[in-house]
Symmetry: C2
Subunit: 343 residues, 2 copies
Amino acid sequence: MQLTDRQKLILTLIIHEHIRTAQPVGSKSLVEKYNLAMSSATVRNEMSVLTDYELLRQPHTSAGRVPTEEGYRFFVGNLVQQSGLPTNTRRTITHQFYQSRQDIEQWLRLAASVLANQSQAASLVTAPHAEKAIFKHLELIATRGRQVLMVLVLMGGEIRQQFISLSEPVSQERLSVIAAQISNMCVRCDVEKISRMRTQTDALGKDILDILIAEMTLIEESTTGEIYLDGMTNVLSEPEFAESDEARQALHILEERSLLENLLASTVMNIDVGGIQVLIGGEGTWQELRQCSIVLARYGDPDTLTGSIGVLGPIRMPYDRTISTVRFVANVLSDLVTETLAV
Amino acid sequence: MQLTDRQKLILTLIIHEHIRTAQPVGSKSLVEKYNLAMSSATVRNEMSVLTDYELLRQPHTSAGRVPTEEGYRFFVGNLVQQSGLPTNTRRTITHQFYQSRQDIEQWLRLAASVLANQSQAASLVTAPHAEKAIFKHLELIATRGRQVLMVLVLMGGEIRQQFISLSEPVSQERLSVIAAQISNMCVRCDVEKISRMRTQTDALGKDILDILIAEMTLIEESTTGEIYLDGMTNVLSEPEFAESDEARQALHILEERSLLENLLASTVMNIDVGGIQVLIGGEGTWQELRQCSIVLARYGDPDTLTGSIGVLGPIRMPYDRTISTVRFVANVLSDLVTETLAV
DNA sequence: TTTAGCACTCTCGCCTTGAGAGTGCTAAAA
DNA sequence: TTTTAGCACTCTCAAGGCGAGAGTGCTAAA
């Protein structure tokens, strides 16, 4: 499908106008609004062609045109110009990051907040996560009785904390010794290697190693780290969401962690750090997302630690701006992650 | 204001019916629906009295009655019977808790999820938080270069992790020694006591202590720990939220952490563990909550660690059931917290 | 190839209208 | 004194009719 420049222009303008107004766009109003150097009849003819190509759609005879999902896809794939964010926006965002506490959690929260505010939509950010869990450090802290707090640090800075119940009370001194022992023994080891070390410790050490192995396996099996959401309410004022129940179901995907993990696993996990993926109208697969689009990116260090960020909004979304924002925030996070967390 | 038994009955029935249907309730339909042993005219007279008391309201002449906020308050204060949850519901909930991973974070998430599902509304759970920050354990883990991961454990099990930049690179060995030193020296101390210890260490130790003190001060100043939300989408299908923009603003309060902290600070912080507070229609103070009610409770150990849980839904909320649920979940959490986290 | 002109279509807001639900009042019954 | 039947009145809401407005497609001329 090869479009003439004029057809591209008209498609672009219709999408712009529709994004602005959420209404079907007519030929006459389009010519007037943008002072086009052609008559409305010409525009009508072109619209007719674009409708044949299934890039536009008429809600009913004698209404204006609305872009189809295919139309948006063509737009995003071919017509969006990579504007990049205005310099002062970039500066504001960067500034916020360097002003916040130096803490990965704060950064991720901030990233979610920035995405939500800049795009006026819902945003999600997953914590960086390594495909392979490599042990770094173990800490055991007595609380009381047989309850012990286990803090596990992985290469890359992922931290997991968990209460464990030992079969009998153990003093903090003994716990510290064991933790140091295990830390020394296992540093830079993966699950398999650690499994083979079970024989090298006493009974208590074995118990702890078992729990450690279970935990590391669990981490390795999960596809993402912690998920941060923001801006869910932004999207509620959009007419699509205010009206249809269906659109609201999309927010349910964000809330239900398992659904969201599935979605991420089958989309963004395949793209490269630095790349952008745009999911328009659920792409036929995701029923709940039929009225939504998602702009996704991956950040981090491709070989070790990666995470995802994304923006969820109505299909009628200002893609150019959103894509720029997502790309920029992904880059900022990549920088922060490789600077502070790399192995 | 003293109501006769019959007036109380009628008020209760109207509230029940209105909660069910979200519509104004008329005298005739009420008599028919509940097979009342009186005529609709009698009901009308009583309704008229209740309207004079401002417990009921007419949306317009010749419409049925709707409970006022005052009406709901009277209902919650005087007429709600403490039914308690059905035994099998209690069992299901308890079961879920003891089946989940033994991990405070999982419990809190689960609590939010249970509240949201049981009440079909939005829920919030804050992590247990001590008024006074008491040091328990410090861990320093080298990442690379001058970046160090600091893990701070407080009495009660609150854990904070943060990246810090030292002025020069330090080996993991030295970091471990310093961490052990500080851990020994400061265990069971509060911020003031630790501040006075700054002289007892070398330059590096001083730097770390400073950061430690700053962090503990920050923790002490904050009113709540981490906040877990769930079920935001539940509430979106209620007519109040589907229609008015105003109701949707209420969800914004949940999203904006600072707003939520304010709200909690000025309400639930004052009630005792085991007590329940019901905020109806924002109580005149919280504009954004005018169309919502919140049922709040505190859990934990009154003297040391406490957190809040709550449910946010439309004013038209099944208070008896919601209150029972919130109370029950608060008790479960209290048990878990005192069992595993107490000093 | 573009454009002016025209007949035609469809939505949307506005109005009217009638049914339905509910109220308050009054006078009779308990 | 309290309760109830009866009745006139009020207000909403859904349905139908109507006209204005916006938009389309087609045709013939520029």
